[in-house]
């Protein structure tokens, strides 16, 4: 990388177990679709370098374990985050209902944290049960920056989510 400055931003990836957080991160970082990732024990870490507006950006991506037995650990890990993704599975309503809990976990130490709400498994078109209008209500309620539907299987919108979040973080932190 040769542009003028390097910045490191901590970004949280959160949401219920099985919504596809780790799969999304593998798709984004390695360009691969891994349909059967192991349960994340606590938290895992990924990094991704990108250039935004002539800044070298390193996203330090914290992949939160979604299972309930790890939840009490996560509020502490959210400290210092500059952005977050909250994922739910478009085919499982319960994962959408739990979005509020994830908002609390991500924002407890970071009020005003920029968050993008992500509906995952867009490729399972036949099984989608969560309609856009109810998601829009939740988006308004929690003041999310955006709502984007993705498929880690096809790669649809994967790059866009991270680029969008990184751009917003850069605008907030560096200008």
């Amino acid at each position: 990388m040769s542009s003028k400055r390097s910045y490191l931003f901590k970004v949280l990836t959160s949401g219920d177990g099985g919504v596809g957080k780790t799969t999304l991160l593998h798709r984004y970082i390695e360009g691969k679709f891994l349909p059967n990732t192991l349960m994340t024990l606590g938290v895992e870490f990924f990094t991704k370098e990108l250039i935004i507006d002539d800044f070298d950006i390193v996203l330090q991506l914290w992949d939160f374990g979604g299972q309930s037995q790890f939840r009490f650990m996560l509020e502490r890990y959210s400290m210092g985050a500059k952005g977050a993704l909250i994922l739910f599975d478009l085919t499982r309503y319960i994962t959408f209902e739990n979005v509020e809990e994830w908002v609390h976990i991500c924002t407890k130490h970071n009020p005003g944290l920029p968050i993008i709400l992500v509906g995952s498994k867009l490729d399972l078109a036949e099984e989608i049960v969560i309609k856009d209008d109810i998601v829009e209500e939740v988006k308004e309620q929690f003041n999310f920056l955006d709502y984007i539907k993705v498929s880690s299987k096809t790669g649809e919108n994967v790059e866009e989510i991270f680029k969008k979040l990184a751009k917003i973080v850069v605008e907030r932190e560096l200008y």
């Binding site: 390097s6 931003f9 606590g42 309930s68 037995q69 650990m73």
Partner: protein, 277 residues
């Protein structure tokens, strides 16, 4: 970690799961735990929250609706908050699973036996996640140091007259050159990822914590920071340097991130580093 789920009225052990060796018999401990709880309820009108006893930390949760006493014991350096959260999680799970049965319970403890496997399963997950804390703190520490170094770069690049700027850059380049050529540093490959150049600035974020002793990395980055500040203060003088640090929002950064810095035990180091002569 050892866990008891007890009938708080009768002192009966519903479940006991042991992952640590205790120097006394389990049934004696169960009796003592219930008696202690009864004593504090009677004398102090409130249940025990936690105690240190026999070299262990003991955390209690009393559920008055179901007359259940949940107790966890672990070595003293395990954080109380962590133990309490684990116990709370197991309590909720137990009540969800056996709440109805408990209403008409006749005293058969066999009913609760499968919960022993549940405790084992979650304990294994928590054990596996224990190293995560170490890595999490490391990644946070890298983020803090990288941000501080970026702000220091701002001090060097933006506000100093040309001659002083050249001197500082020359000395910092020399510092990093000497650092990388030290025999002890050469032996640790990850430390070679720490770099500085006039064009690209400071970079420390590529260090992989799984390949290196985290404490060694922390010590070396702190050493470099101390030296950089020394170079800047020697060139500018202490008071002027403080002004430049302030103009670059270094103190704002420290105060705005105080909870994180406290968690990482870096707040004292950074304040001393910037403020003291």
């Amino acid at each position: 970690m050892n866990i008891w789920i007890l009938d708080s009225k009768r002192g009966v052990t519903l479940i006991y799961k042991s992952f640590l060796d205790l120097p006394v018999k389990d049934d004696l401990v169960s009796g003592l735990l219930t008696a202690l709880n009864q004593f504090t309820l009677t004398e102090f009108k409130e249940p025990i929250d936690s105690i240190d006893m026999g070299g262990f930390k003991w955390i209690y949760i009393l559920d008055v609706d179901y007359n259940l006493l949940f107790v966890v014991a672990d070595i003293k350096n395990t954080e109380s908050e962590t133990l309490k959260s684990r116990l709370e999680f197991l309590k909720n799970l137990f009540i969800k699973q056996f709440g109805e049965d408990l209403k008409n319970w006749t005293g058969d403890i066999e009913l609760f036996k499968p919960f022993g496997d549940t405790i084992e399963k979650y304990y294994a997950h928590w054990q596996a996640a224990e190293n995560v804390d170490l890595f999490a703190d490391f990644f946070d520490m890298l983020g803090v140091f990288q941000q501080i170094l970026n702000l220091l770069r701002g001090v060097i690049d933006n506000q100093i007259d040309f001659k002083k700027q050249e001197n500082i850059i020359k000395n910092v380049v020399e510092l990093f050159y000497n650092f990388k050529n030290r025999m002890d540093i050469k032996k640790i490959q990850e430390l070679s990822k720490i770099s500085y150049s006039k064009e690209a600035g400071f970079s420390i974020f590529n260090i992989n914590p799984t390949n290196v002793d985290i404490q060694v990395v922390k010590k070396q980055i702190m050493y470099l920071l101390i030296q950089i500040i020394k170079i800047i203060k020697e060139e500018l003088g202490h008071d002027l340097a403080l002004n430049y640090f302030s103009d670059q929002n270094i103190f704002n950064y420290i105060f705005n991130n105080m909870p994180l810095l406290k968690k990482l035990k870096l707040e004292g180091f950074l304040l001393q580093l910037f403020l003291l002569k």
